[in-house]
Subunit: 413 residues, 2 copies
Amino acid sequence: MDKAKAVLLIADGLGDRPIKELGNKTPLEAAEKPNLNKLAAEGECGLMDPIAPGIRAGSDTSHLAILGYDPYTYYTGRGPFEAAGIGMDVKKGDVAFRCNFSTVDDNMLITDRRAGRINSGTDQLAAAVNGMKLSNGVEVIFKESVAHRGALILRAPGLGADITDTDPHHEGAKVLTAEPIEPTDVPSSITAAAVNEFVRKSYEILKDHPVNKERIAQGLNPANIILPRGGGIGPNMESFEDEHGLKAACVAETGLINGVARYIGMEITEVPEATGGPDSNLIAMAKAIVERLSEVDFVLCNVKGTDVAGHDDAPQVKIDMVKKLDEMIGYLMANLPANTFLVLTADHSTPCAIKDHSGDPVPIVFWGEGVRTDRCDCFGERCVTSGGLGRIRGIAVMNIITQLMNVQEKFGA
Amino acid sequence: MDKAKAVLLIADGLGDRPIKELGNKTPLEAAEKPNLNKLAAEGECGLMDPIAPGIRAGSDTSHLAILGYDPYTYYTGRGPFEAAGIGMDVKKGDVAFRCNFSTVDDNMLITDRRAGRINSGTDQLAAAVNGMKLSNGVEVIFKESVAHRGALILRAPGLGADITDTDPHHEGAKVLTAEPIEPTDVPSSITAAAVNEFVRKSYEILKDHPVNKERIAQGLNPANIILPRGGGIGPNMESFEDEHGLKAACVAETGLINGVARYIGMEITEVPEATGGPDSNLIAMAKAIVERLSEVDFVLCNVKGTDVAGHDDAPQVKIDMVKKLDEMIGYLMANLPANTFLVLTADHSTPCAIKDHSGDPVPIVFWGEGVRTDRCDCFGERCVTSGGLGRIRGIAVMNIITQLMNVQEKFGA
């Protein structure tokens, strides 16, 4: 028999709640989805709590759990994964932040948190602050991301990450001073001091930078300060291959998911037609998955548009995304190599009514040779409760996959 | 009312996956089993993960969990249970190994890992090495088991068990030197040195032993060395009676299960007609269970033939074993004393397609006065998902039993 392979397809924020205008169906329930239903009919279905029942999961914490890493052990903030997601080499123990280029006046009052949504020249600004010297010897690595975004790594032995943000998250307020959340937390005190020095020096370096002089001349807000937030420590995690014995690639649309994948050593696959929105080309992503399976054992794929539709309270867009997902699943069922397991689920619910993540569980289906096909023949939040899996947690998903693939070491004799 | 009693019957490796040749049924689903179905109809059914969802359990780790002892806390290797299973008195802190009598040449090259499957005289060979003096004062206790097998106990304060094996597991290779897995692990270093000295001295003692001279004269491979493997520390577990308040006996067919039971203080019941294979006399075992219940509160029974059939990829043999199990259950339902709870489950799945343990969950049914009988009326991997239990873990089983029996202490007021 061919060597077993597996695809874990996560439709971001797919889960929802009943919507009156849809006849009290969820978008997933309301959508036409012959292939998803076929997958359910041929597979084993159930409900999944990404973290635990009722917990509102983030995409990062949920992906960690589903990939076999307990987020309560490993997660201290999204910074390390954001930084890894834009190609930065985050090391264990680094403290990493997502950052905004912002505009402040002479009194450190924020006049524009996104510096006029600056979309060029941030590479030059980043180069100007990258490698700056801090008085306590903490190493500074900075890189720009898309638009006004960037990421900062602080590197030194024994840093902590439990500090308050410098970004007040609204305009008209002053830049905040980062402080350790617990005053007695020395490692985080060192980090807070480094962050404050970084922010101050970023202003000194950027305020008269040619890129900003040019912006001011054009009547644009200058990107004259950098505000870090969401700091976290690069967690001490085994690589995915060491953890599960599977060579893996990731096909995803967002930096955060690519960052999680890259941090645990998955190969990142760029799909130019994958936009991260409802207009994304999911068939192109499906083709990339099939292609990558010729070289790796496992592909993680994250489709983002379902989540976007939920955040936008756009049930019809979510229904349309489900239809695209249905075509994608149809393509995969027809084109995956023999002896490949396909697992479809979500990382959390993003109900249109909430416009944000909720703690509602999500449907999951395991499909492939040998699964205990059950009587559930539709893929929806409620109909999967008639499936054979019952209600499982995200942390179990990789164990179920590796045991189906028969590549998991036995515990005991 | 009569004092409550309970029987926990574990059909080893009973769980399976759908098999095409059986019309996509599992052997358990395909077998005629009127008594099992009656048990399910009268009882409360569900799925059980012996350890946790997706975890490939061994028989030893699974039995520990099902008996109420978390294997992640207590399990370091099968050695202590193998040793206890052949009647050795394993104490907490002992490091115990399963061993092979093997044949080596003058260069310590293994020419026969099983010493011609020697089947007599090992008691004399064991007596010759038992009690040997080691230079570091570690006490040596050795006992022969069936055929070429035996078990070794090393006894001294502060030994570790995280060492590599001396047995290369194939012929034509040299005897390996045991080493601590972590070089800085001093307790395991002491054990490794003791093991290496034991192996070397076993050769010195056995090579010219009269039993081996006689074997060589007959053209048989001499059992001239002993190779320990699978070392583990005798865990610091409460006895079953202290843990659960139940005087208990075990009716099982394998040394490993008898060893687990004996280690936690259960009385071992030998049933001569219990062979450990598909030809075993399960009615004789059922009779032994009923008999033991006149003296004890609880009987653990393990039937091995279902697992053997799975390892052999013999679906029809597994079906036949289910039929025998069905007769056994019929006997028990008719003959158990009043107010006895009967719990039927498996310690893991051993799918014929895998020929080894898998991480698929197993069916479980609780039967007896007061259980919440549900609408599930058949005992199979998939139909029990309609039962009232949902999906539980092995570690919960004894708690459910003792609360049904009303002998569990209340937690709180």
